[in-house]
Amino acid sequence: MGDEEVKLFRTWSSPYALRIVWALKLKGVEYETIYEEVSHKSDLLIGYNPIHKKVPVLVHNGKPIAESLVILEYIDETWKQHPLLSDQPHQRALARFWAKFGDEKVLPAIWEAFTKQGKEQEEALSTAVENLKYLEEELKGKKLFGGEEIGLVDIALGWLANLVSVFEEITGLKLIPEEKFPLLFNWMQVFADIPVIKESWPPRDKLVAKFHSIREASLAKEAEKDK
Protein backbone atom coordinates (compact mmCIF):
# COMPACT_ATOMS: atom_id res chain seq x y z
CA MET A 1 0.00 0.00 0.00
CA GLY A 2 1.54 3.26 -1.15
CA ASP A 3 0.67 6.78 -0.06
CA GLU A 4 -1.48 6.24 2.98
CA GLU A 5 -2.47 8.62 5.69
CA VAL A 6 -3.04 6.86 8.98
CA LYS A 7 -3.72 8.83 12.15
CA LEU A 8 -4.45 7.57 15.62
CA PHE A 9 -6.17 9.72 18.22
CA ARG A 10 -5.24 8.46 21.67
CA THR A 11 -4.55 9.52 25.22
CA TRP A 12 -1.27 8.66 26.92
CA SER A 13 -2.94 6.05 29.16
CA SER A 14 -6.03 4.67 27.42
CA PRO A 15 -5.79 0.87 27.32
CA TYR A 16 -8.28 0.85 24.45
CA ALA A 17 -6.07 3.11 22.36
CA LEU A 18 -3.05 0.99 23.24
CA ARG A 19 -4.71 -1.95 21.46
CA ILE A 20 -4.56 0.04 18.24
CA VAL A 21 -0.93 1.04 18.81
CA TRP A 22 -0.04 -2.65 19.18
CA ALA A 23 -1.97 -3.73 16.08
CA LEU A 24 -0.45 -1.02 13.88
CA LYS A 25 3.07 -1.72 15.16
CA LEU A 26 2.73 -5.50 14.76
CA LYS A 27 1.72 -4.95 11.16
CA GLY A 28 4.43 -2.38 10.55
CA VAL A 29 1.93 0.30 9.56
CA GLU A 30 3.25 3.87 9.69
CA TYR A 31 0.97 6.26 11.45
CA GLU A 32 0.77 9.67 13.07
CA THR A 33 -0.24 9.95 16.73
CA ILE A 34 -2.46 12.73 18.02
CA TYR A 35 -2.58 12.88 21.81
CA GLU A 36 -5.80 14.03 23.39
CA GLU A 37 -6.59 15.27 26.89
CA VAL A 38 -9.70 13.75 28.43
CA SER A 39 -10.64 17.02 30.10
CA HIS A 40 -10.24 19.05 26.95
CA LYS A 41 -11.03 17.08 23.79
CA SER A 42 -10.15 18.62 20.49
CA ASP A 43 -12.79 19.71 17.99
CA LEU A 44 -11.11 17.38 15.54
CA LEU A 45 -11.68 14.33 17.75
CA ILE A 46 -15.28 15.30 18.43
CA GLY A 47 -15.80 15.79 14.71
CA TYR A 48 -14.43 12.32 13.98
CA ASN A 49 -16.33 10.59 16.81
CA PRO A 50 -19.40 12.69 17.57
CA ILE A 51 -21.37 9.78 19.05
CA HIS A 52 -18.98 8.75 21.81
CA LYS A 53 -16.41 11.58 21.75
CA LYS A 54 -13.75 9.10 22.84
CA VAL A 55 -10.39 7.68 21.90
CA PRO A 56 -9.25 5.67 20.12
CA VAL A 57 -10.21 6.92 16.69
CA LEU A 58 -8.32 5.72 13.65
CA VAL A 59 -8.45 7.98 10.61
CA HIS A 60 -7.41 6.28 7.40
CA ASN A 61 -7.16 8.50 4.34
CA GLY A 62 -9.56 10.92 5.99
CA LYS A 63 -12.15 8.32 7.03
CA PRO A 64 -12.68 7.89 10.78
CA ILE A 65 -13.30 4.59 12.58
CA ALA A 66 -14.22 4.42 16.27
CA GLU A 67 -14.58 1.64 18.88
CA SER A 68 -11.39 -0.29 19.51
CA LEU A 69 -12.62 -3.79 18.59
CA VAL A 70 -14.16 -2.42 15.38
CA ILE A 71 -10.88 -0.63 14.58
CA LEU A 72 -8.89 -3.83 15.19
CA GLU A 73 -10.99 -5.76 12.66
CA TYR A 74 -10.65 -2.89 10.17
CA ILE A 75 -6.88 -2.93 10.58
CA ASP A 76 -6.77 -6.70 10.14
CA GLU A 77 -8.85 -6.51 6.95
CA THR A 78 -6.88 -3.61 5.48
CA TRP A 79 -3.29 -4.68 6.26
CA LYS A 80 -2.95 -8.42 5.74
CA GLN A 81 0.52 -8.99 7.22
CA HIS A 82 0.68 -10.53 10.72
CA PRO A 83 -3.01 -11.52 10.74
CA LEU A 84 -4.79 -11.02 14.07
CA LEU A 85 -7.63 -13.39 13.23
CA SER A 86 -7.53 -16.93 11.83
CA ASP A 87 -9.06 -17.47 8.41
CA GLN A 88 -11.21 -20.29 9.89
CA PRO A 89 -14.75 -19.04 10.62
CA HIS A 90 -15.11 -20.97 13.89
CA GLN A 91 -11.76 -19.76 15.21
CA ARG A 92 -12.75 -16.21 14.25
CA ALA A 93 -16.06 -16.58 16.07
CA LEU A 94 -14.27 -17.84 19.18
CA ALA A 95 -11.77 -14.98 19.10
CA ARG A 96 -14.56 -12.43 18.78
CA PHE A 97 -16.39 -14.13 21.64
CA TRP A 98 -13.44 -13.95 24.03
CA ALA A 99 -12.56 -10.37 23.09
CA LYS A 100 -16.15 -9.38 23.89
CA PHE A 101 -16.11 -11.43 27.09
CA GLY A 102 -13.02 -9.55 28.22
CA ASP A 103 -14.66 -6.16 27.74
CA GLU A 104 -18.13 -7.05 29.02
CA LYS A 105 -17.28 -9.29 31.98
CA VAL A 106 -13.62 -9.31 33.01
CA LEU A 107 -12.92 -5.60 32.75
CA PRO A 108 -15.98 -4.37 34.68
CA ALA A 109 -15.42 -6.90 37.48
CA ILE A 110 -11.77 -5.97 37.92
CA TRP A 111 -12.61 -2.27 37.69
CA GLU A 112 -15.28 -2.67 40.35
CA ALA A 113 -12.82 -4.53 42.61
CA PHE A 114 -10.30 -1.74 42.07
CA THR A 115 -12.62 1.19 42.71
CA LYS A 116 -14.56 -0.17 45.69
CA GLN A 117 -13.80 -1.52 49.14
CA GLY A 118 -15.28 -3.79 51.79
CA LYS A 119 -18.15 -6.06 50.81
CA GLU A 120 -18.63 -4.54 47.32
CA GLN A 121 -14.96 -5.16 46.60
CA GLU A 122 -15.20 -8.75 47.85
CA GLU A 123 -18.20 -9.44 45.62
CA ALA A 124 -16.51 -7.87 42.61
CA LEU A 125 -13.39 -9.91 43.25
CA SER A 126 -15.46 -13.06 43.44
CA THR A 127 -17.06 -12.28 40.07
CA ALA A 128 -13.64 -11.46 38.61
CA VAL A 129 -12.28 -14.83 39.76
CA GLU A 130 -15.16 -16.67 38.07
CA ASN A 131 -14.50 -14.82 34.83
CA LEU A 132 -10.73 -15.26 34.99
CA LYS A 133 -11.23 -19.02 35.34
CA TYR A 134 -12.69 -19.08 31.83
CA LEU A 135 -9.63 -17.29 30.48
CA GLU A 136 -7.33 -19.69 32.31
CA GLU A 137 -9.21 -22.59 30.70
CA GLU A 138 -8.89 -20.96 27.27
CA LEU A 139 -5.09 -20.87 27.60
CA LYS A 140 -4.75 -24.64 28.08
CA GLY A 141 -2.14 -25.96 25.65
CA LYS A 142 -1.41 -22.46 24.34
CA LYS A 143 1.33 -19.93 24.91
CA LEU A 144 -0.81 -17.02 23.79
CA PHE A 145 -4.58 -16.79 23.22
CA GLY A 146 -3.75 -16.58 19.52
CA GLY A 147 -1.62 -19.74 19.73
CA GLU A 148 2.01 -19.18 18.74
CA GLU A 149 1.44 -15.60 17.63
CA ILE A 150 -0.39 -12.64 19.16
CA GLY A 151 -3.98 -12.47 17.99
CA LEU A 152 -7.07 -10.40 18.53
CA VAL A 153 -7.78 -11.88 21.95
CA ASP A 154 -4.26 -11.20 23.24
CA ILE A 155 -4.58 -7.61 22.13
CA ALA A 156 -8.06 -7.24 23.61
CA LEU A 157 -6.95 -8.69 26.97
CA GLY A 158 -3.48 -7.14 26.89
CA TRP A 159 -4.44 -4.43 29.37
CA LEU A 160 -4.36 -7.16 32.05
CA ALA A 161 -0.62 -7.64 31.52
CA ASN A 162 0.04 -4.10 32.64
CA LEU A 163 -2.79 -2.66 34.66
CA VAL A 164 -3.39 -5.63 36.95
CA SER A 165 0.00 -5.15 38.61
CA VAL A 166 -0.70 -1.40 38.90
CA PHE A 167 -4.05 -2.13 40.57
CA GLU A 168 -2.45 -4.74 42.82
CA GLU A 169 0.23 -2.28 43.91
CA ILE A 170 -2.37 0.38 44.75
CA THR A 171 -4.88 -1.83 46.58
CA GLY A 172 -2.60 -4.48 48.07
CA LEU A 173 -4.96 -7.08 46.56
CA LYS A 174 -3.81 -10.10 44.60
CA LEU A 175 -6.06 -9.99 41.54
CA ILE A 176 -4.34 -12.68 39.48
CA PRO A 177 -2.31 -14.86 41.88
CA GLU A 178 0.08 -17.25 40.17
CA GLU A 179 -1.03 -20.25 42.25
CA LYS A 180 -4.64 -19.79 41.19
CA PHE A 181 -4.05 -18.76 37.58
CA PRO A 182 -0.68 -20.19 36.47
CA LEU A 183 -1.41 -20.01 32.73
CA LEU A 184 -2.82 -16.49 32.84
CA PHE A 185 0.06 -15.34 35.04
CA ASN A 186 2.54 -16.78 32.55
CA TRP A 187 0.66 -15.28 29.61
CA MET A 188 0.88 -11.83 31.19
CA GLN A 189 4.70 -12.13 31.39
CA VAL A 190 5.06 -13.52 27.87
CA PHE A 191 2.78 -10.87 26.41
CA ALA A 192 4.42 -7.98 28.27
CA ASP A 193 7.86 -9.06 27.05
CA ILE A 194 7.02 -9.00 23.34
CA PRO A 195 9.15 -6.11 22.00
CA VAL A 196 6.32 -4.17 20.33
CA ILE A 197 4.25 -4.46 23.50
CA LYS A 198 7.10 -3.74 25.89
CA GLU A 199 8.13 -0.55 24.13
CA SER A 200 4.58 0.81 24.12
CA TRP A 201 3.64 0.68 27.80
CA PRO A 202 2.81 4.09 29.25
CA PRO A 203 5.19 5.20 32.04
CA ARG A 204 4.40 3.09 35.11
CA ASP A 205 4.86 5.79 37.74
CA LYS A 206 2.41 8.02 35.89
CA LEU A 207 -0.08 5.14 35.68
CA VAL A 208 0.22 4.41 39.40
CA ALA A 209 -0.36 8.08 40.22
CA LYS A 210 -3.31 8.37 37.87
CA PHE A 211 -5.11 5.24 39.01
CA HIS A 212 -4.37 6.00 42.63
CA SER A 213 -6.26 9.30 42.24
CA ILE A 214 -9.10 7.52 40.49
CA ARG A 215 -9.45 5.05 43.33
CA GLU A 216 -9.32 7.80 45.96
CA ALA A 217 -11.98 9.77 44.10
CA SER A 218 -14.19 6.69 43.76
CA LEU A 219 -13.94 5.84 47.45
CA ALA A 220 -14.66 9.46 48.42
CA LYS A 221 -17.75 9.43 46.22
CA GLU A 222 -18.95 6.21 47.88
CA ALA A 223 -18.38 7.75 51.31
CA GLU A 224 -20.52 10.78 50.31
CA LYS A 225 -23.32 8.47 49.18
CA ASP A 226 -23.34 6.65 52.48
CA LYS A 227 -23.84 9.84 54.50
Partner: protein
Protein backbone atom coordinates in the same frame (compact mmCIF):
# COMPACT_ATOMS: atom_id res chain seq x y z
CA UNK B 1 -26.78 -29.61 4.11
CA UNK B 2 -28.14 -32.29 6.44
CA UNK B 3 -30.69 -30.72 8.76
CA UNK B 4 -29.14 -32.37 11.82
CA UNK B 5 -25.84 -30.61 11.10
CA UNK B 6 -27.26 -27.19 11.88
CA UNK B 7 -29.41 -26.10 14.80
CA UNK B 8 -30.31 -22.90 16.58
CA UNK B 9 -31.22 -22.64 20.25
CA UNK B 10 -33.56 -19.71 20.66
CA UNK B 11 -36.97 -18.30 21.49
CA UNK B 12 -39.60 -16.56 19.39
CA UNK B 13 -39.56 -13.40 21.48
CA UNK B 14 -35.82 -12.70 21.45
CA UNK B 15 -34.59 -9.88 19.19
CA UNK B 16 -31.14 -11.49 19.27
CA UNK B 17 -32.45 -14.87 18.13
CA UNK B 18 -34.34 -13.09 15.35
CA UNK B 19 -31.03 -11.75 14.03
CA UNK B 20 -29.65 -15.28 13.72
CA UNK B 21 -32.84 -16.57 12.05
CA UNK B 22 -32.85 -13.80 9.44
CA UNK B 23 -29.21 -14.57 8.60
CA UNK B 24 -30.01 -18.29 8.26
CA UNK B 25 -32.95 -17.45 6.00
CA UNK B 26 -30.86 -15.15 3.80
CA UNK B 27 -28.55 -18.09 3.18
CA UNK B 28 -31.51 -20.46 2.55
CA UNK B 29 -30.37 -22.79 5.32
CA UNK B 30 -32.42 -25.61 6.85
CA UNK B 31 -31.91 -26.05 10.59
CA UNK B 32 -33.46 -27.51 13.69
CA UNK B 33 -34.92 -24.86 15.99
CA UNK B 34 -34.72 -25.66 19.69
CA UNK B 35 -37.23 -23.40 21.39
CA UNK B 36 -36.35 -22.37 24.96
CA UNK B 37 -38.94 -21.58 27.62
CA UNK B 38 -38.48 -18.31 29.46
CA UNK B 39 -37.27 -18.98 33.01
CA UNK B 40 -36.30 -22.61 32.39
CA UNK B 41 -32.99 -23.09 30.58
CA UNK B 42 -32.51 -26.41 28.83
CA UNK B 43 -29.56 -28.78 29.39
CA UNK B 44 -28.62 -28.23 25.76
CA UNK B 45 -28.37 -24.47 26.27
CA UNK B 46 -26.37 -24.76 29.47
CA UNK B 47 -24.01 -27.20 27.80
CA UNK B 48 -23.66 -25.17 24.57
CA UNK B 49 -23.18 -21.76 26.18
CA UNK B 50 -21.79 -22.43 29.66
CA UNK B 51 -20.23 -18.96 29.94
CA UNK B 52 -23.35 -16.83 29.40
CA UNK B 53 -26.17 -19.41 29.38
CA UNK B 54 -27.98 -17.21 26.86
CA UNK B 55 -29.70 -17.53 23.50
CA UNK B 56 -29.12 -17.56 20.59
CA UNK B 57 -26.61 -20.37 20.20
CA UNK B 58 -25.83 -21.77 16.76
CA UNK B 59 -24.83 -25.43 16.67
CA UNK B 60 -22.94 -26.40 13.53
CA UNK B 61 -21.25 -29.79 13.05
CA UNK B 62 -20.64 -30.17 16.76
CA UNK B 63 -19.44 -26.58 17.31
CA UNK B 64 -21.31 -23.91 19.27
CA UNK B 65 -21.25 -20.30 18.27
CA UNK B 66 -22.59 -17.74 20.76
CA UNK B 67 -23.54 -14.04 20.67
CA UNK B 68 -26.00 -12.99 17.96
CA UNK B 69 -23.75 -10.68 15.93
CA UNK B 70 -20.89 -13.17 16.07
CA UNK B 71 -23.32 -15.82 14.81
CA UNK B 72 -24.39 -13.55 11.92
CA UNK B 73 -20.76 -13.02 10.86
CA UNK B 74 -20.08 -16.75 11.16
CA UNK B 75 -23.05 -17.58 8.93
CA UNK B 76 -21.92 -14.98 6.39
CA UNK B 77 -18.38 -16.42 6.33
CA UNK B 78 -19.23 -20.12 6.20
CA UNK B 79 -21.99 -19.78 3.59
CA UNK B 80 -20.34 -16.98 1.66
CA UNK B 81 -21.55 -18.27 -1.69
CA UNK B 82 -25.20 -18.75 -0.65
CA UNK B 83 -27.91 -16.14 -0.87
CA UNK B 84 -26.34 -12.68 -0.79
CA UNK B 85 -23.47 -11.22 1.27
CA UNK B 86 -24.57 -9.93 4.66
CA UNK B 87 -21.56 -7.77 5.46
CA UNK B 88 -20.37 -5.21 2.92
CA UNK B 89 -17.24 -6.22 1.04
CA UNK B 90 -15.17 -3.11 1.78
CA UNK B 91 -13.43 -2.82 5.16
CA UNK B 92 -14.71 0.71 5.81
CA UNK B 93 -18.34 -0.27 5.11
CA UNK B 94 -17.87 -3.22 7.47
CA UNK B 95 -16.43 -0.96 10.17
CA UNK B 96 -19.38 1.46 9.94
CA UNK B 97 -21.88 -1.42 10.11
CA UNK B 98 -20.09 -2.94 13.12
CA UNK B 99 -19.84 0.45 14.83
CA UNK B 100 -23.61 0.97 14.67
CA UNK B 101 -24.35 -2.62 15.68
CA UNK B 102 -22.17 -2.12 18.77
CA UNK B 103 -24.02 1.13 19.50
CA UNK B 104 -27.35 -0.67 19.25
CA UNK B 105 -26.27 -3.38 21.68
CA UNK B 106 -24.40 -1.20 24.16
CA UNK B 107 -26.45 1.99 24.26
CA UNK B 108 -29.74 1.61 22.43
CA UNK B 109 -31.06 -1.75 23.59
CA UNK B 110 -30.35 -1.34 27.33
CA UNK B 111 -32.22 2.00 27.26
CA UNK B 112 -35.11 0.51 25.28
CA UNK B 113 -35.42 -2.20 27.88
CA UNK B 114 -35.19 0.36 30.71
CA UNK B 115 -38.20 2.31 29.48
CA UNK B 116 -40.51 -0.52 30.40
CA UNK B 117 -38.66 -1.86 33.42
CA UNK B 118 -37.42 1.19 35.32
CA UNK B 119 -39.98 2.58 37.70
CA UNK B 120 -38.63 5.96 38.79
CA UNK B 121 -39.69 8.87 36.57
CA UNK B 122 -36.20 10.36 36.19
CA UNK B 123 -34.73 7.04 35.10
CA UNK B 124 -37.54 6.46 32.66
CA UNK B 125 -37.18 9.94 31.17
CA UNK B 126 -33.43 9.43 30.69
CA UNK B 127 -34.03 6.08 29.00
CA UNK B 128 -36.65 7.58 26.66
CA UNK B 129 -34.25 10.40 25.72
CA UNK B 130 -31.46 7.94 25.01
CA UNK B 131 -33.74 5.85 22.79
CA UNK B 132 -35.06 8.86 20.87
CA UNK B 133 -31.49 10.11 20.38
CA UNK B 134 -30.45 6.68 19.18
CA UNK B 135 -33.26 6.48 16.67
CA UNK B 136 -32.51 9.90 15.23
CA UNK B 137 -28.83 8.95 14.90
CA UNK B 138 -29.84 5.77 13.10
CA UNK B 139 -32.19 7.73 10.81
CA UNK B 140 -29.17 9.79 9.77
CA UNK B 141 -26.94 6.71 9.51
CA UNK B 142 -29.56 5.11 7.28
CA UNK B 143 -29.31 7.96 4.81
CA UNK B 144 -25.52 7.64 4.69
CA UNK B 145 -25.44 3.86 4.57
CA UNK B 146 -28.27 3.07 2.15
CA UNK B 147 -27.34 5.72 -0.44
CA UNK B 148 -30.91 5.84 -1.71
CA UNK B 149 -31.47 2.08 -1.62
CA UNK B 150 -34.11 0.34 0.51
CA UNK B 151 -31.83 -1.11 3.22
CA UNK B 152 -28.81 -0.10 5.34
CA UNK B 153 -27.07 -2.80 3.33
CA UNK B 154 -28.23 -1.35 -0.01
CA UNK B 155 -30.39 -3.50 -2.27
CA UNK B 156 -30.60 -6.35 0.22
CA UNK B 157 -30.79 -6.82 3.98
CA UNK B 158 -27.31 -6.47 5.43
CA UNK B 159 -25.61 -6.71 8.80
CA UNK B 160 -26.91 -3.44 10.21
CA UNK B 161 -30.44 -4.12 8.92
CA UNK B 162 -30.27 -7.38 10.86
CA UNK B 163 -28.77 -5.79 13.99
CA UNK B 164 -31.40 -3.05 14.17
CA UNK B 165 -34.26 -4.90 12.50
CA UNK B 166 -34.16 -7.56 15.19
CA UNK B 167 -35.19 -4.83 17.64
CA UNK B 168 -38.30 -3.73 15.71
CA UNK B 169 -40.72 -6.00 17.53
CA UNK B 170 -39.65 -4.65 20.93
CA UNK B 171 -39.58 -1.08 19.59
CA UNK B 172 -43.24 -1.43 18.58
CA UNK B 173 -44.16 -3.02 21.92
CA UNK B 174 -42.42 -0.18 23.79
CA UNK B 175 -44.34 2.37 21.71
CA UNK B 176 -47.61 0.77 22.79
CA UNK B 177 -46.77 0.24 26.44
CA UNK B 178 -45.11 3.61 27.03
CA UNK B 179 -47.35 5.62 24.72
CA UNK B 180 -44.42 6.80 22.58
CA UNK B 181 -43.82 7.33 18.89
CA UNK B 182 -40.34 6.08 18.19
CA UNK B 183 -40.21 5.08 14.53
CA UNK B 184 -42.74 7.30 12.84
CA UNK B 185 -43.34 8.55 9.25
CA UNK B 186 -43.24 12.17 10.44
CA UNK B 187 -40.09 12.20 12.59
CA UNK B 188 -38.17 9.28 11.06
CA UNK B 189 -39.50 8.88 7.52
CA UNK B 190 -36.59 6.79 6.23
CA UNK B 191 -36.65 4.35 9.13
CA UNK B 192 -40.45 4.09 8.97
CA UNK B 193 -40.24 3.01 5.34
CA UNK B 194 -37.28 0.73 6.05
CA UNK B 195 -39.08 -0.96 8.95
CA UNK B 196 -41.99 -1.99 6.73
CA UNK B 197 -39.64 -3.31 4.04
CA UNK B 198 -37.63 -5.24 6.62
CA UNK B 199 -40.61 -6.86 8.33
CA UNK B 200 -42.14 -7.95 5.02
CA UNK B 201 -38.92 -9.21 3.48
CA UNK B 202 -39.10 -12.96 2.69
CA UNK B 203 -36.12 -13.60 4.99
CA UNK B 204 -37.94 -11.95 7.90
CA UNK B 205 -41.69 -12.30 7.58
CA UNK B 206 -41.85 -15.95 8.60
CA UNK B 207 -39.88 -15.42 11.80
CA UNK B 208 -40.90 -11.93 12.89
CA UNK B 209 -43.01 -12.15 16.06
CA UNK B 210 -46.69 -11.24 16.08
CA UNK B 211 -46.81 -7.83 17.77
CA UNK B 212 -50.05 -8.49 19.65
CA UNK B 213 -48.66 -11.70 21.14
CA UNK B 214 -45.35 -10.00 21.91
CA UNK B 215 -47.13 -7.13 23.68
CA UNK B 216 -49.06 -9.54 25.89
CA UNK B 217 -45.91 -11.52 26.60
CA UNK B 218 -43.98 -8.34 27.44
CA UNK B 219 -46.39 -7.53 30.26
CA UNK B 220 -45.46 -10.82 31.93
CA UNK B 221 -41.73 -10.21 31.46
CA UNK B 222 -41.86 -6.63 32.68
CA UNK B 223 -43.65 -7.67 35.84
CA UNK B 224 -40.92 -10.26 36.46
CA UNK B 225 -38.08 -7.82 35.72
CA UNK B 226 -39.62 -5.11 37.89
CA UNK B 227 -40.02 -7.65 40.65
CA UNK B 228 -36.30 -8.44 40.65
CA UNK B 229 -35.26 -4.79 40.05
CA UNK B 230 -37.53 -3.45 42.79
CA UNK B 231 -35.79 -5.64 45.35
CA UNK B 232 -32.70 -3.31 45.34
Amino acid sequence: MAESDLALIGAWQSPFVLRARVALNIKNLQYVFHEETFGNKSELLLKSNPVHKKIPVLLHSGKSICESLIIVEYIDEVWSSSGHAILPSDPYGRAIARFWAAYIDEKFFPSLRSIAVVQDEAGKKAAVEQVITGISLLEKAFGESSKGKPFFGGDHIGYLDIAFGGMLGWIKVTETIAGLKLIDPETTPQLAQWAEKFIHDPAVSGVFPDIGTLTEYSKVVIAKLRGSAGAK
